[in-house]
């Protein structure tokens, strides 16, 4: 089968790591095209990605993670890809794990595969973050009756129907937990897959402990509002 998979890498100031991530993905084989969405970086992110062989989408204004990833979905949908994978540009998501996410989409006909740090692994996150992830997990359990552990994972694969849907409509600020809820509400079949993740090589998480409270409030509120919407 001749499948075309878009590997979408949203990147903001990640010149140190982007090149090696792109090269690693390219090493996976011919079915993968790497699409780097450069969210108005101030460094050589775009150039390094291009030199490593990625297709670079240059956002003329900074949109944040949600808007950047959605741009990738739009491209991949218009270009007729069969599925896409979202991968961080900072090296946290090892590209060798990508096939693990793609497999359930085509073997089992699922719509979305979420790479999980917690399934069958002892990945450590700071206490306050772990708590936040748990709370969102609990919310999903109560609201949708589903069990998902790594609710903030940005390492995920979408098959075409989900990809096209998110190309039209995708949360903007902290999209990971919200998009999970929306996927369930929309009736997409979601699976959590155990993957290895690296600890961040460069840069710091966008979620510092100071912002954790704001993050939780914003995400829970947004998810409550999503529940009252129709998707």
């Amino acid at each position: 089968m001749d499948r075309r998979i878009a590997v979408i890498i949203p990147a903001y100031n990640e010149e140190e790591t982007i090149g090696s991530v792109v090269k690693e993905v390219k090493g996976l084989g011919d079915g993968y095209e790497v699409i780097v969405v450069n969210d108005c970086s101030h460094d050589a992110t775009a150039r390094n990605a291009e030199l490593a062989g990625a297709t670079v989408i240059e956002l003329p204004a900074n949109l944040g993670i949600g808007g950047a990833v959605q741009t990738g979905f739009k491209y991949a949908s218009a270009a007729g890809f069969d599925a896409c994978v979202q991968v961080d540009g900072d090296g946290q998501h090892p590209p060798r794990e990508i096939p693990k996410l793609i497999e359930p989409l085509f073997e089992d006909g699922l719509d979305m595969a979420v790479g999980s740090r917690f399934l069958g692994g002892a990945y450590k996150v700071p206490l306050i973050r772990a708590l936040g992830i748990r709370v969102i997990s609990l919310f999903l359990k109560i609201a949708m009756g589903v069990s998902l552990r790594d609710t903030t994972s940005g390492f995920r694969a979408l098959r075409r129907p989900a990809m096209e849907f998110f190309a039209r409509c995708y949360p903007q600020d902290y999209p990971e937990p919200e998009s999970l809820l929306i996927a369930y509400m929309k009736g997409f079949k979601v699976i959590e897959v155990a993957v290895e993740m690296n600890y961040r090589e460069h840069g710091i998480s966008s979620i510092t402990p100071v912002r954790a409270v704001y993050y939780m409030t914003k995400v829970l509120l947004a998810m409550l509002i999503d529940l009252c919407r129709k998707y």
């Binding site: 075309r4 775009a46 150039r47 291009e50 297709t55 670079v56 003329p60 491209y75 270009a79 007729g80």
Partner: protein, 161 residues
């Protein structure tokens, strides 16, 4: 008392004139300007004709300054809410435009490199035999034309940022 009334009236009239000038120059859209023109007219009329305020309170039964303030406050909040909604809408439109712009810019780069793009579909459909994924095609063209892999266009983009 008269002085302060004349002063407020003068300010209201100047405000009215300034609003009118902003609309004329195209700095302010009419839909927003109506509110400002309306507000400044009311302030101007009330300050120049103080008897009116007694007539208004006679009709509405509003004698307490706190009640008047509460109403004004509610109106101000409503206006702010309107602006918040307008900003959200503009932000959404701005996001869509940014994404569209970036995707079109990529498409232009691909076309410049000779990738075969047909209709609304990027990359997939190639004319003739088909089935040749245009990324490879574009790379072949690069080799043939000796073009840098868009490094030049990227460079110029960054310098303008």
């Amino acid at each position: 008392m008269l002085h302060i009334r004349l002063f407020i009236g003068a300010i209201a009239i100047m405000f009215f004139a300034a609003t009118f000038e902003f609309i004329r120059k195209g700095h302010l859209r009419e839909e927003y300007a109506i509110l400002w023109l309306f507000t400044s007219s009311i302030v101007a009329v009330l300050s120049l004709w103080p008897g009116l305020i007694n007539i208004v309170s006679e009709i509405t039964g509003l004698y307490y300054i706190t009640a008047v303030l509460a109403i004004v406050f509610a109106l101000v909040i409503a206006v702010l809410m309107h602006y918040s909604i307008a900003i959200s809408k503009i932000k959404e439109m701005n996001k869509e435009l940014t994404q569209k712009c970036a995707l079109l810019e990529l498409r232009v780069r691909q076309l410049e490199r000779g990738a075969n793009i047909v209709g609304g579909t990027l990359l997939r459909k190639t004319e003739g035999e088909g089935g040749v994924p245009p990324p490879d095609l574009s790379r072949k063209m690069e080799r043939a034309t000796g073009l840098e892999p868009a490094a030049s266009s990227l460079g110029s983009l960054h310098s303008t940022n």
